[in-house]
């Protein structure tokens, strides 16, 4: 009650007990508000929602009704609390509100100031989740065919998460360990609270735009992640704003939100879902040990190819030696030169393969030399061959009127046998050359 100096000079008590001591309306309402709030404190109240309205700034006003006993109470749910609502309840829905009975002083109206609202039964979370999930499914955004494959050997990976979170630390650690060549580009965003979904969308968009702004910025994948938390903490990853941003990302998204048991809509529309941030990083890049192994496999494939081509090359040198005596040495030299060139470039593991082939080639070269007619020809002898290149070394190799060739220093001579004169005394004699 207030004490005032009156016009007549005497102090008068304003306690509302006399016309002279009448209190103001605002004093009355303030007093009633204070009494109400002190008397009741925070309570859970159940009832049916009616007349749900949402102001332009995001406050919600509604009435809670007790249908059986025909009673209702006005409720106000300010934006600072109401943003947590995953969905607005429908009229007639049975809800539980947590709040404090109070008085709206300007109108002297009794009301509940609501801090939290939960729906009976499945709950608003489930309702909101299922509603959006059905919508996404109807649009085909959950179809498995939409999932894009990730590059086998990514160069650059984007990460969208909170700057200070454990998720970022885990992701960077795993990426660096498995793929030290990887470039990591982090875009911070809040991962819980009012406005987080819009930040997720903005972060995905900025990262994708940056990635598209130059050939040396191309992102192979984006990891969207946050660590564990309550359903409410993770909720922004079920909000349409964030979910649609993931679905629309031009870069494949790997999504890991919360723990394995938590499934969010962002994860359902992402190209790949991971149970934890660390696993998301593992799925994003190959392990360097696996990459080394695949290089070894490719190396073995080359060695196998090399082995075959040398064997085939040797076969061809051999064939040449039989068919074209004059050019055999040259063909062999060319093949050998090439092998030596290759040997100079061979990594250590493959040298053994080549060494074996070279040994074979050396044997071949020796046998070629032993059979080579060239030296003999150079000394003034001639080598006779048939038209297929087979050497004619004995008298039995010749028949009358046979056409054959004579290899002499400087060229070949086409010849025909006039007569075959067998040496009677020496059946083995008559070889024209060694």
């Amino acid at each position: 009650m207030t004490r005032q100096v009156s016009l007549f000079g005497a102090a008068e008590v304003r306690d509302g007990h006399s016309p002279g001591g009448a209190i103001t309306v605002s004093d009355l309402n303030e007093a009633a508000r204070g009494t109400l709030e002190k008397r009741f404190g925070d309570l859970w109240v159940r009832g049916e929602v009616t007349n749900w309205t949402r102001s332009s700034v995001g406050h919600r006003y509604f009435s809670l009704r007790d249908q059986e006993r025909d009673a209702s109470v006005a409720c106000v749910f300010f934006r600072g609390d109401a943003w947590r609502l995953p969905a607005d309840p429908e009229d007639g829905m049975e809800v539980f509100v947590h709040g404090r009975p109070t008085l709206y002083a300007r109108q002297g109206r009794f009301q509940l100031r609501v801090r939290a609202l939960e729906a009976a039964g499945e709950g608003l979370w489930r309702i909101a989740f299922e509603r959006l999930r059905r919508e996404l499914a109807a649009e085909g955004l959950l179809d498995p065919e939409r999932k894009r494959a990730l590059p086998a050997y990514p160069r650059r990976v984007g990460v969208v998460t909170s700057r200070g979170g454990a998720a970022l630390h885990d992701i960077i650690t795993v990426l660096r360990r498995r793929a030290p060549w990887i470039e990591i580009v982090v875009r911070h965003c809040r991962v819980q609270g009012e406005g987080a979904a819009a930040e997720v969308r903005a972060a995905l968009g900025r990262l994708a735009d940056w990635g598209a702004s130059g050939p040396d910025r191309t992102l192979d994948a984006i990891i969207l992640s946050r660590g564990g938390g309550s359903m409410e903490d993770l909720w922004c990853f079920n909000e349409e704003t964030a979910v649609r941003a993931v679905a629309a990302s031009p870069v494949p998204v790997i999504c890991a939100i919360g723990h394995e048991v938590d499934v969010t809509l962002c994860e359902l529309v992402a190209d790949l879902r991971a149970p934890t941030p660390s696993v998301a990083a593992e799925l994003a890049v190959p392990d360097i040990r696996m990459v080394r192994a695949s290089l070894d496999t490719a190396g073995r494939g080359l060695a196998r190819g090399l082995r075959r081509l040398i064997v085939r090359g040797n076969d061809r040198v051999e064939a040449l030696a039989q068919r074209l005596p004059a050019s055999a040495g040259h063909a062999r030299d060319v093949a050998k030169l090439r092998l030596d060139t290759m040997a100079a470039r061979l990594p250590a593991g493959m040298e053994r393969v080549l060494a074996r082939s070279r040994a074979r080639l050396a044997e071949l070269a020796a046998s070629l030399d032993a059979r080579s007619p060239l030296e003999t020809v150079a000394r003034g002898y001639a080598v006779a061959t048939d038209l297929e290149g087979r050497r004619l070394t004995r008298i039995d190799d010749f028949t009358p009127s046979q056409r054959f060739r004579l290899l002499v220093a400087g060229g070949q001579v086409a010849a025909t046998t006039d007569a075959v004169e067998r040496d009677a005394a020496e059946p083995d004699a008559g070889e024209p050359g060694a």
Partner: protein
């Protein structure tokens, strides 16, 4: 190719290697082609191995610069979470 360059595309090199091996395995390939393929393969293999062992990626954060443009800048504290082959804080004691 002497030094692993920034433009080196590992995936491209691997794909080319696989293609080379597949062609080398094919029947009826000519000796000249085989030798050329083999030499190419050895070269790609060497490039890929060198790149794999020397490439060290950065950890950056995309932040708005004073002009409002988004720029990738070294992420503070990322070294703690490292595990890469080398310390990326060059010039520090």
């Amino acid at each position: 190719m002497s030094e692993p360059s920034k433009e080196f595309e590992f995936e491209t090199a691997i794909r080319e290697l696989e293609r080379i091996v597949a062609r080398l395995d094919r029947e009826g390939i000519g000796l000249d082609e085989a030798i050329a393929l083999f030499e190419q393969g050895i070269e790609r293999l060497g490039e890929a191995r060198r790149w794999l062992e020397t490439a060290s990626g950065r950890v950056e954060e995309l932040i708005a610069s004073s002009t409002g443009r988004l720029e990738a800048m070294p992420l503070e504290g990322a070294e703690r979470s490292g595990g890469g082959p080398e310390d990326r804080r060059e010039g520090e004691p």
